[in-house]
Amino acid sequence: MSPRRTDAGGRIDRLRTIRFTFDGTPYTGHAGDTLASALLANGVTLFGRSFKYHRPRGVLTSGVEEPNALVTVLRGEVREPNIAATMVEIYDGLTAVSQNRFPSLAWDISAANQLGGKLLSAGFYYKTFMGPAIGPLKNTRFWMFCEHFIRRAAGLGRAGTAADTARYERMNAFCDVLVVGSGPAGLMAARAAADQGARVILSELEPHFGGSANWSGETIDGMPAADWAARAAGQLEGYDNVRLLPRTTVWGYYDGNTLAALERVTDHKERPGKGEPRHRYWIIRAKSVVLATGSLERPLVFPGNDRPGVMLAHAAERYANEYGVLAGNRIALFTNNDSAYRSALALKKAGAAIVAIVDVRPELSSEMREFADEAEAKILSGHAVVATEGGKALSGVKVQRFDMANGALAGDTRSIQADCLLMSAGWSPTIHLASQAGAKAEWNEALQAFLPPKATQRWIGAGAFTGSFSTAEAIAEGRAAGLSAAGGTGTPAALPVVEAVPGDPDPAPVFEIRADGESFVDFQHDVTAEDVRLAHREGFISVEHLKRYTTLGMATDQGKSSNIAGLAIMAEALGKPIPEVGTTRFRPPFSAVSIGSLAAERFGDLRPERLTPMHDWHVANGATMYSAGLWYRPMIYGLSGETIEQAYVREARTTRESAGIVDVSTLGKIAVQGPDAAEFLDRVYTNMFSTLAVGKARYGLMLREDGLAFDDGTTWRLGEQDFLMTTTTANAGKVMQHLEYFLDVIWPELKVHVTSVTDEWAGAAIGGPKARAILAACVTGTAVDNATLPFMGIVHGKISGVPVMICRLSFSGEMAFEVYSGAGYGTHVWEALIEAGKPFGLVTYGLEALGTMRIEKGHVTGAEIDGRTTARDLHLDWMLSKKKPFIGSAMMDREGLIAPGRLELVGLISLDNQPLNGGGHIVEALDEANPHDSIGHITACCYSPALGKYIALALVKDGKVRRGTRAHISDPLRNRFGPLEIVSNHFFDPDGSRMHG
């Protein structure tokens, strides 16, 4: 039998024993236990070491707000740090380890930090890492050296290095009513809304529905509250219009009633089912939301309040009632309110001795006195705990007479032997989601708590969330909220009857007992009350600054247990009431969210990718694929032993000597159809398209509204009202949006439809001196001679029985043709062309050879049309029609765009026979030690088989007039310096005799 497990009671399955380890020690627990409850049952009190001072810490809470008991859970090689032990459900084989300790939890070397605690006070990092301003170490790197060790000493768990193999998924959900929290209020709300026929989602961050009903010990409708909650949840399961989400934390409340939630699907399982994700990231769009998120009990701030064995009162009550675990055998309580008396009764009933109830209030109600008597507890009203005793576990507390009017302590201290101290400073509604959604919280003096703000979106609160802390109120408000959220009125029906321990919900306005010793406000970040006062003394008077300077509330628990006490201490220091000091707005996430769940499915091999119709052929025929945006394109078809350069040089040379073929299916293709299509193209292109004959293509250039170059491509006139526009691969989407914008917003009177047909067509460009002969050998139904198919002409025919459209145009500078077929026939036509090309020495070529040939020809692509260049800069001014306005025409001649000194397109030839680097700079005078005065940069480079030289395209200041002069490449990053000659960008066949044939 575990030392702290009660003989009976609790909602664990005592017949099922679970085996797990913590820091290598094997333990057992029961199904239904959390790691925290199972360890407590085994008598473990020391759970971890604190963030800065490495102080021993136990478990403070029983839920999501836990700041102390953070552990690392290991799954094989994968480690997940900073998980609250209160949220880990144990399973067979669970392996958990403690954090922030060396060499072991019990004997931690850095605990010496405690002795120098004063050194690590508020603003420690800000002050320390500025470095010494005086003394022998001034201006040295000594502090940077120290920083490494200090930062390592302070911290949480260590992230793992093994790849996380778990699966994460995203899920979109829609509902009429989202109920967050499944305590009595949430259960009532869900039921009421569901009965109205609304689509309901009920989320609960714990494994079981019921919230406080699972441990309150109250009676609802004559049965234990936990049974009532289980029955209510069971009934909801039977509704088709209700989705129940246990283990699901709603962590973000965004605009438009969009909420983000994390479902922990398999964390509690030994191993996930096939295909089951570990976490599911729910994005819930709710018409309205019921916030039934309950409230969080607050700790009191007093010296030694962080010693293992000091715990929140309700947490111990929950451990006893829900898990059958006693947090201690001799328990003392310290409170400013009535709710702790209920906890005392519950623990007494569970078998613990209640040695004392220390209450800061001088006067107690007779009811509370009766409860204390019933618990056989000594009452010390008007007293406070001023110290705790013990090492890694509590052995006793010291109390002293306390005057809550002025905070003064008086009289002798007396010691009380106890192995557990429970504290309660009242309750704060869990208003995080409402705060995320909008307005500021409102201070309630009686409850000493911030209550939810006015709704700015469609939500309604219920239960403890609204400051109504009794179960009877929660039940009434829950039903009303559910009805209202579902838009129903409902007939008055009897509400479930609650039998509960009574109590006044209003606490005394006491949060801190000022006595000697470290009193912790923020347990997780090791922020003490004195740190808050120090920050105030140093001039940090805004609550926002206080938070950042002291890091109060900035740990992974986001100050769930520390906010109010911190504010109260700050308010006292400022001499202002709490509402005037204000509170910070809560930000998402409510609690920690796995990064994996946010990345979800857009990860690894599930990223979307685009493949051309001939993709499999390329891969099967030795292509090295290259990702260009989302597309995959062949880079080279390397032969064995070839380098990339050898491969593309061979491909380009063979193309210019005989013929080459390349997959151009990725080019953007847009159908431009309608009676005003030609007029529209005249407006969007700088040159004329209305004059283009049917069956002809033309090269076109587009500018942006600001007059800079945007995109280029050929557009084919397939019919009087039917054009096929091609765009660069990279700009296909942008051009489409550009056209749609003008048609929808600027010229809605034009009758034009634009449709993306990129995927409709497979495209193969075949070029070279033998290209026409190859086509002649395989095309039927049309001639391909110069008369039938002149430059920029289009014919329709068939290849191997498949209809094709052939346009004679050239990017490579060779006599070339683009052959388009339906995408489903792409591979068939491609293979037919390859077969027909065999006798002619046809070679397949990839992006590298394509780029090489375009550089030789001086054609521009996205590297030159970079959003900063004009048509003139690229020597495309011959395309700027003077006969008509077009997009960009009014802005393109602005002073700065025609001024001298602009970067202009040029060609470069390497004079030292070494490669030129893309991105390398051009300088007039070389200065390797101190590179300066760039006159431009290289946009594309290659070895040119046609010229037998390393060449490049570049944008160079006043490039046109520099043609024929020499300069240098200056690329200090890659240590490439060398002479070059500036030439025209048209390196090869400048008059185009090869392509015109």
């Binding site: 965004y254 605009d255 438009g256 009633n257 969009t258 994005i283 769009r285 700015t456 407006r683 509204e705 600001d706 949006q737 749609e740 914008y741 929808d744 917003v745 600027i746 809605p748 009177e749 306005p885 077009f886 025409s889 009014a890 802005m891 602005r894």
Partner: protein
């Protein structure tokens, strides 16, 4: 943020592309008034409050929408197709294009 597309219904903002300030007036295509063009291309109101915006439902029906969005609260008070836009229609009527 959700935008209620008049065709597709309420959709997540990820389906939309912001296409600029809806207060811009494009000069006549042949206009040489550089100030007017500058104002159209570069000048933005950037109001704190209601703002006329053009959004494209690029991940849906691809229609362009005129959206009035409060830049302080993200609240959207109206959404309409830009086609059928009264201002544009009136302008084109004045120009004799309709």
């Amino acid at each position: 943020m959700l935008i209620t597309c008049p065709y597709c219904g309420p959709r997540d903002v990820i389906e939309f592309t912001y296409q600029g300030d809806g207060n811009r007036e494009r000069p006549q295509p042949a206009s040489q008034d550089l100030d007017a063009w500058n104002a159209y291309v570069y000048d933005r109101l950037n109001p704190a409050g209601d703002h006329n915006e053009i959004w494209q439902h690029s991940g849906g029906c691809r229609a362009h929408l005129r959206v009035v969005r409060n830049t302080l609260t993200h609240e959207i008070s109206s959404v309409a197709f830009t086609r059928g836009d009264h201002k544009v229609a009136a302008r084109h009527k004045a120009e004799g294009k309709l």
